[in-house]
């Protein structure tokens, strides 16, 4: 039905498929909705010059912002929000606005403006993925854009110095994390048992804070005090991004073991469910007649043989 779609985005590390929050959001949504995307990560190519990643290319259409990409995927019938009520759809928009207003500035600051983080981690990582001589210019440009955005949206009076702005945005981010934790509570995803657009956005914003090893980490420490959000990120990583995980960090082995345990628990749960379903079917009174009819059909034609194989 759909031509193959190609997504170009920033690559990943520290156990994440991507370090860039917007790329991560799009990848997560694609996994949730089952869209067949081929993901190409930027590696020494000049594609990064456009600097508008992530970019989706489908046939001849080029789409660049996450919201527009998600809209396009929904129009192609890859909709992760199918089961949501209208009110839940409205809630999704509201929480995404909350994330962008309160959490994004702190995320940008941690990555691009905090001097130790930027010089020791962000700049070398991005520079290694961009072709020379662009890698001398592009990380600096991204950093300046991030600073600009923060100052223009948050930096008006009465906050007159950068330190005051920083204090305010980290306060906002911590409050936002607390609110998200309260909203998630003990459920697996934000709207029940299936992941939706909101889960993709929250995962995209939280996972970089959670996983990337920065020298200055007060936001990460705050996040680690909210175990349900950490569990949420880990669950999505193990269930949906198993193949793309690069066990790079030394703590990766521990998390891999913990994930393996969780996975075996999930598998056990599923096999229990299947056994229960089997029992129910066997106990149901309609079962024997159905078996006879399928056997009869199997004797008659070939196309019913898959049916007989399926019947337990």
């Amino acid at each position: 039905m759909a031509a193959p779609m190609e997504l170009s985005c920033w690559g990943g590390d520290w156990g994440l498929p991507s370090l860039h929050p917007e790329s991560l959001t799009v990848m997560a949504y694609a996994k949730f909705s089952g869209a067949p995307l081929t993901v190409t990560t930027i590696n020494k190519s000049w594609r990064a010059l456009k600097a508008d990643l992530p970019v989706l290319v489908a046939e001849d259409i080029v789409i660049s912002q996450p919201a527009k990409i998600l809209n396009f995927l929904r129009k192609q019938k890859y909709n992760a929000d199918y089961d949501l009520s209208a009110k839940q759809g409205a809630d999704t928009l509201a929480y995404i606005a909350l994330l962008e207003e309160k959490l994004l500035p702190a995320l940008l600051h941690t990555f691009w403006i905090e001097a130790e983080n930027y010089c020791n981690v962000t700049k070398p990582w991005f520079a290694s993925r961009i072709a020379f001589p662009l890698n001398l210019y592009l990380p600096g440009k991204m950093s300046r854009e991030a600073l600009n955005r923060i100052l223009l949206t948050k930096g008006g009076p009465p906050l007159y110095s950068l330190t005051e702005v920083e204090a305010q945005i980290y306060r906002d981010a911590k409050e936002c994390l607390n609110l998200l934790s309260k909203r998630l509570g003990t459920s697996q995803f934000f709207f029940g048992d299936t992941p939706t657009t909101l889960d993709a956005f929250v995962f995209g914003f939280l996972a970089p804070i959670y996983k990337v090893c920065f020298p200055r980490v007060h936001l990460q420490e705050h996040l680690k005090q909210l175990p349900n959000l950490c569990r949420f990120c880990d669950d999505i990583l193990t269930c949906y991004f198993r193949g793309a995980v690069s066990g790079h960090s030394p703590a990766g082995q521990d998390t891999a073991d913990a994930n393996l345990q969780k996975l075996t628990q999930l598998v056990n749960k599923e096999s229990n469910l299947i056994e229960k379903m089997d029992d129910n079917l066997r106990k149901s009174p309609h079962h024997p007649p159905r078996k006879l009819t399928t056997l009869k059909l199997a004797a008659g034609g070939e196309e019913s043989s898959p049916m007989s194989r399926l019947s337990p």
């Binding site: 509201a94 606005a97 909350l98 955005r149 223009l152 949206t153 008006g156």
Partner: protein, 236 residues
């Protein structure tokens, strides 16, 4: 925005007096209008004012549980993000509106050439901000579509309830009322923005209900509210 505060303070049953001043932006501690002046304290912006009022013992959102408070904050951010930015865009980035309405209104208290200089300065500031958050490339249709989406979300959340969190009004109701009333009553070149809001009958009914309930006691004020709402967009 003035209307949001008035509504909020009326809902808390606190008496207020509204004064229009041309140098209001400079009197305010954060450069943003409106602000309140209580005794010898001056507080501006909705967030700090809510905290201030709460510290004095009045709060509208005490009856909400944690999850509802989180929802309320999220919806307030949605309104700020979408409606406020759209209003700013329409006032300062749409060339027709800027030329014919915004420039004259914004500069009206000042003599020439100060009025032109100040309004160009403000326009440049707003356009810079739009560029930083990615709204500069949006066309008018896209902005209107975003407003429509936002109103749709608000309408869905309100449903058939009298207020957003059922029986009691909260800060969210005050904020939404302020913005929607502005959109519905301010005169612009085209009526497209107010048409978008009028498509949602429960939102218009909501505005009318709050206006009647909290502003009808001051009948003189309701006519001045209409005049002030057109003046307010120049003060912003």
């Amino acid at each position: 925005a003035t209307l949001c505060f008035q509504a909020f303070l009326q809902m808390c049953n606190l008496p207020i007096r509204v004064i229009c001043r041309a140098n209001a932006e400079y009197m305010s501690p954060s450069g943003k209008v409106p602000f309140i002046h209580v005794g010898n304290q001056v507080v501006s912006e909705l967030g700090p004012i809510v905290q201030f009022v709460k510290a004095k013992g009045h709060s509208l959102s005490d009856g909400l549980d944690e999850v509802q408070k989180a929802e309320m904050k999220a919806y307030m951010e949605l309104v700020n993000n979408m409606l406020l930015t759209a209003e700013l865009y329409l006032q300062w980035c749409d060339d027709v509106t800027v030329e014919e309405i915004t420039h004259p209104r914004y500069g009206s208290p000042y003599p020439w050439p100060l009025n032109r200089i100040l309004s160009y300065q403000k326009q440049w500031e707003v356009r810079r901000k739009m560029k930083a958050i990615g709204w500069a490339e949006k066309t008018l249709e896209q902005v209107l579509e975003d407003v429509d989406q936002c109103c749709h979300a608000l309408s869905q959340r309100l449903g058939t309830q009298p207020y957003f969190f059922n029986k009691q009004p909260t800060e969210l109701d005050a904020l939404v009322f302020g913005h929607l009333f502005t959109i519905l009553t301010t005169q612009l070149i085209t009526d497209e923005l107010s048409e978008k809001v009028k498509n949602y009958s429960n939102l218009t009914a909501f505005c009318r209900r709050i206006e009647q309930q909290y502003f009808e006691g001051h009948e003189r004020d309701s006519s001045t509210i209409a005049a002030r709402s057109s003046k307010r967009s120049l003060l912003r």
